[in-house]
Symmetry: C2
Subunit: 151 residues, 2 copies
């Protein structure tokens, strides 16, 4: 099994949970934040899906596209799926050698790392913020929540 074929189901085992949570956020709750200093639910979900896409673009040395316009109306669940699809396009094109490529993240993280590790950080970042999102969605009144990772 290639590294890409190995990583994609692992990514989706978390991303599908992100999508399920994003779909539970009703329009009226897009601005919800647990405290004044927190990100809003909308900002949190957009931060998760754009970050992963940008990390993957960096790991594959490609320019990320602008997939949604700030301020335009959109469905959070739909935008999340759109970013997921574009992230999958990049991941599916990776061959095993690409995972060893050294990626210059000096401007972003102050370091250079192999692509494999960039994707590891992207996934840890997603899991962390998904952990935030679980609390948000529970605070919106939802109690029927998925496991943190899909089996």
């Amino acid at each position: 099994m290639s590294k890409s074929e190995n990583f994609i189901p692992y990514f989706l085992s978390h991303r599908n949970v992100t999508i399920a949570l994003a779909e539970k956020v009703e329009k009226a709750n897009y601005d919800f934040k647990p405290t004044e200093t927190s990100m809003s639910a909308e900002k949190l979900v957009l931060h998760m899906v754009t970050s992963f896409y940008q990390f993957t673009a960096a790991a594959t040395k490609q320019q990320p596209k602008q997939l949604h316009e700030e301020g335009s109306p959109f469905e959070l669940g739909e935008v999340t799926k759109l970013y997921t699809d574009e992230t999958l396009v990049l991941l599916k094109n990776m061959v095993d050698e690409d995972f060893k490529e050294i990626i210059d993240l000096t401007a972003f993280l102050g370091t250079k790392l192999p692509a494999e590790q960039v994707l590891r950080i992207a996934l840890d970042h997603e899991i962390n913020h998904k952990g935030n999102l679980f609390v948000y969605v529970r605070m919106m009144g939802h109690t029927d929540l998925p496991m943190f990772v899909q089996k």
Copy 2:
């Protein structure tokens, strides 16, 4: 570098953040929960540190010790450090072959997995719940919070 020498700093880059957050939880807030159906802050932190220790004990085919008594008074930060130390004892004793051992988690997760993957699940579980804990601690009034992973 051995697999153990590789994994330990990665584990600590997340666990040290868990410890920093646990230390911010004041005694008066041990029972804090964002909603009625949430785990309390105390239960959440204990769940994180006991789970990781138990996953590691399973991955190393050892019996986990009982490191704290239910209902006895304790400092959350101290218990967290105690579990961290005992987890590190187990991790430090692992040789590269141990990471390939097949671990029977049938009773727990309905599957058998290599030890390396058991540790991966343990860390994802920690990051997820640390993401919950960030929201809890912010709701307690703390705004000076660490990054989700220590550099």
